[in-house]
């Protein structure tokens, strides 16, 4: 199986790589993370100039007509730099939903501002009781004369604190875990009736608990068909999962390579620790896990970009997520442990890559969830 990149794809990969190389040395990254906003608006403006907000959207929507492959290439490079700007939540999550579900009017109102002006957005789907079940939605939207009244609580909404607008799933009919009856809504983050408790996440990003307290939205706040949003949410989350796994593969590459380099320099008993066979084999295992992860990543990205049926796509995504979970933990742990005392410090990049991999494991279904999903498909 081979993924040969087109000229444009190579150029994209090169430009993202260059951005990370020139702007995202680890110390710079940590400095950005420590700011109030948590990321750099100058970088965000640069993404706009470079046209990266256009990548996955159709040309008629103002985009570049790219697929999950372009997103994979970009996210992998972002992973290598532990980039914290809210590209994923804006373009992949929120943008993905708008791309697939929104009417032309809705795209004009919500997608164009992302593509042209770099407006930031996110998607609130998880709930405290729901674990990874996208159908477990207790946030309710009840129809009234002015549109809909929304009540509920969404968990760990990525990058919500600085989002301009938020998409969310709410139940318009059916009981709590019914697949039918879930609708997709959009609301400005400043709307009254929408409250947030923001906090930093363990991997250097920001998130919030979002509370809807009698939030009133108009009838035009519903994106796509009423009560039928789940299949669309599910497939968008699958695309987002592949993007996140691409980021994880980028992290893993840095971790295993840095570990190999370190082991050649660090001495014990007068020789480099990289000469100890036990450590060599461990690093070989890390390398093998990385390669397997990269292969399943390509398979999944190509499956989503091609014309596989839904079941095959879901299997490809679940297989990938399981592999990433296993490899991320193995490579992360190995890197920390082989780096010894240094691996534990806050100053070294290693621990931070490990944290990002741990975060990715618990997003959009952990390994156990995807093992089960794969088995049921």
């Amino acid at each position: 199986m081979d993924l040969s990149l087109s000229v444009e794809q190579n150029m994209l990969q090169d430009s993202v790589r260059k951005f990370v190389r020139d702007n995202y040395a680890f110390e710079q990254r940590q400095q950005i993370v420590s700011t109030e906003l948590g990321y750099d608006l100058k970088n965000w403006a640069m993404f706009n100039e470079l046209g990266w907000f256009m990548i996955p959207f159709s040309e008629e929507d103002g985009g570049l007509g790219g697929s999950s492959i372009e997103i994979m290439l970009l996210m992998e490079e972002f992973g290598k730099g532990l980039v914290v700007e809210p590209y994923f939540s804006t373009v992949v999550l929120a943008g993905g939903l708008l791309k697939n579900a929104a009417s032309p009017e809705h795209k004009n109102a919500w997608l164009t501002p992302i593509i042209a002006d770099g407006k930031r957005a996110t998607f609130a789907y998880a709930e405290p009781q729901g674990r990874f079940n996208l159908a477990d939605v207790s946030t309710s939207a009840k129809q009234n004369a002015d549109g809909w009244v929304v009540n509920g609580h969404k968990s760990v909404v990525l990058n919500a604190p600085s989002a301009d607008f938020i998409l969310f799933s709410a139940r318009t009919s059916g009981s709590q875990t019914d697949a039918d009856g879930i609708s997709l809504f959009v609301v400005a983050a400043s709307a009254s009736g929408l409250e947030m408790r923001d906090y930093p996440t363990m991997d250097g990003f920001k998130a919030a608990e979002v509370y809807f307290n009698n939030l009133q939205v108009g009838s035009d706040a519903v994106i796509g068909e009423l009560g039928m949003a789940l299949p669309l949410i599910s497939s968008t989350i699958d695309e987002a999962t592949v993007a996140l796994c691409a980021e994880a593969v980028g992290c893993m590459e840095i971790l295993y390579k840095d570990t190999v380099t370190f082991s050649k320099q660090r001495k014990q008993f007068g020789v480099p620790i990289g000469s100890f066979q036990v450590l060599q084999h461990r690093m070989v295992d890390m390398f093998v896990e990385y390669e397997q992860s990269k292969s399943l990543l390509y398979m999944a990205a190509m499956s989503l970009a091609g014309d596989d049926d839904v079941k095959s796509r879901m299997k490809a995504v679940s297989a990938l997520k399981v592999q990433i979970g296993k490899a991320g933990k193995f490579i992360g742990q190995g890197a920390v442990q082989i780096h010894g005392g240094m691996g534990m410090t806050d100053e070294l990049n290693i621990g931070h890559y490990f944290k990002r991999l741990t975060a990715i494991e618990v997003l959009f279904g952990d390994s156990d969830y995807h093992l089960e999903r794969f088995g049921q498909l």
Binding site: P128, S155, Y199, Q268, V278, D346, G351, E361, D366, L371
Partner: protein
């Protein structure tokens, strides 16, 4: 002289012994005010909550149960000691200053001279002094004979210490440090190459550089000694060979029992967390995959517990066996598995566990235990690096037990 009624009697059968231990803890330990006492910034052992616990222990002769009877210890059997540790772990009782009472104390009792014992043992027994342990250096792991920190006699009765110790836990809140040093130049005709020096952290020439870890509140320090003057009577020569030093420093009975007791109590806590649903959802225990993994860990723990008691019994009867190292890395591995399962229970809320200092006053997001559970996860992964490495432990077993 009448028989003094003690709250915990070694003569009791194990069941009654356990009951009186639980009773003692219930009467004398409280969690009230614990959060502020364990911020890590303040030496918690100085807090009121700990002081009253230590005083209660002292009053009942329970402050240093592992020490020899004549030094204030209790004549408890191995099973009784284990019961004690398990009860402490279960009730999340903070240890007596760990490095003092569990590591330095037993070494001093065994190898120290009269004057040293008279001077230092009461301080440890009464928890008046916080200790930290300086062993690792830039280029050493478990190859202790390569320790570079040197001690030299510079005047009658005085030595100068030079060197750097890395990855020292708790150095930023310790009063004193006990350091493994190279004594080859000090005592060229001796068969010992290693010794332990007790140093006041306030001594001139002691420089501390404390660093944050990526793991949250845990801090590790580098301690540099530049011509630090110490009385010669602060040197403890101890065992001759490095291997015994490693065992004394990292594998004392007290240490090992505390580790396994901690693993047991963390497992119980995992079971408890997994049996209550997260925000009215169904409990993780209902998930058959999760339950299988939990049971697998439970069985591993059983094996570890049994092996611990078996090996410690052997140790009591004879020389220290290197295979005791397996207890350390097995217990570390099992704690990792337990911590991983807890991450799984928290699901997406594991993300809401930044450095606690970054959270607002409203406290944790998600469950009340997510912060400490995640910190435990990082500690079990990275924390092993602050100990003798697993590879070194395996090498020791390969060479000394398997003869490879």
């Amino acid at each position: 002289m009448g028989v003094k009624k003690v709250p915990i009697d070694a003569a009791d059968n194990l069941a009654d012994f356990r009951l009186s231990v639980e009773d003692f803890i219930a009467k004398n330990w409280t969690h009230e005010g614990l959060a502020s006492a364990t911020s890590g910034e303040v030496a918690f052992y100085r807090s009121k909550i700990c002081r009253s616990w230590y005083d209660a222990l002292l009053k009942s002769g329970l402050s240093v149960p592992y020490w020899p009877l004549q030094e204030g210890g209790c004549a408890w059997s191995l099973e009784q000691k284990y019961t004690w540790e398990c009860a402490l772990a279960k009730n999340q009782v903070l240890a007596m200053d760990f490095f003092g009472s569990k590591v330095l104390g037993p070494i001093l009792c065994k190898w120290g001279e009269g004057q040293q014992k008279n001077r230092f043992l009461p301080l440890i027994r009464e928890a008046r002094v916080k200790w930290c342990q300086g062993v690792f250096e830039e280029d050493t792991d478990s190859d202790l004979p390569n320790i570079q920190t040197q001690v030299l006699e510079v005047a009658t009765g005085y030595m100068a210490i030079n060197g750097t110790k890395m990855r020292v836990a708790d150095a930023h809140i310790a009063d004193w440090i006990f350091c493994l040093v190279n004594v080859e130049m000090l005592l060229p005709n001796s068969s010992s190459c290693l010794g332990l020096v007790l140093i006041d952290m306030q001594s001139k020439g002691v420089e501390l550089k404390s660093g944050a870890t990526f793991m949250g509140t845990h801090r590790l320090s580098t301690v540099t000694f530049t011509n630090v003057m110490v009385a010669s009577s602060n040197l403890l020569l101890g065992p001759i060979d490095a291997r015994t030093w490693v065992a004394e420093l990292f594998l004392g009975e007290a240490y090992v029992l505390a580790e396994i007791a901690k693993a047991m109590s963390r497992f119980s806590k995992l079971q408890e967390t997994a049996s209550t649903g997260y925000h009215n959802s169904s409990p993780m225990l209902d998930n058959s995959q999760f339950r299988r993994r939990l049971i697998s860990v439970e069985i591993d723990l059983r094996a570890l517990e049994a092996t611990t008691l078996r090996k410690l019994k052997q140790q009591q009867l004879g020389a220290i066996n290197a295979d005791i190292f397996m207890l350390k890395f097995r217990s570390a591995q099992i704690c990792q598995q337990i911590a991983t399962l807890l991450v799984s229970v928290h699901g997406i809320y594991a993300l809401a566990s930044p450095d606690p200092k970054l959270l607002s006053n409203e406290g944790p997001v998600g469950s009340a235990s997510v912060l400490s559970d995640m910190e435990e996860y990082w500690n079990t992964i990275g924390g092993v690096a602050s100990d003798v490495s697993v590879d070194a432990q395996k090498n020791i077993i390969a060479r000394n037990i398997l003869g490879l």
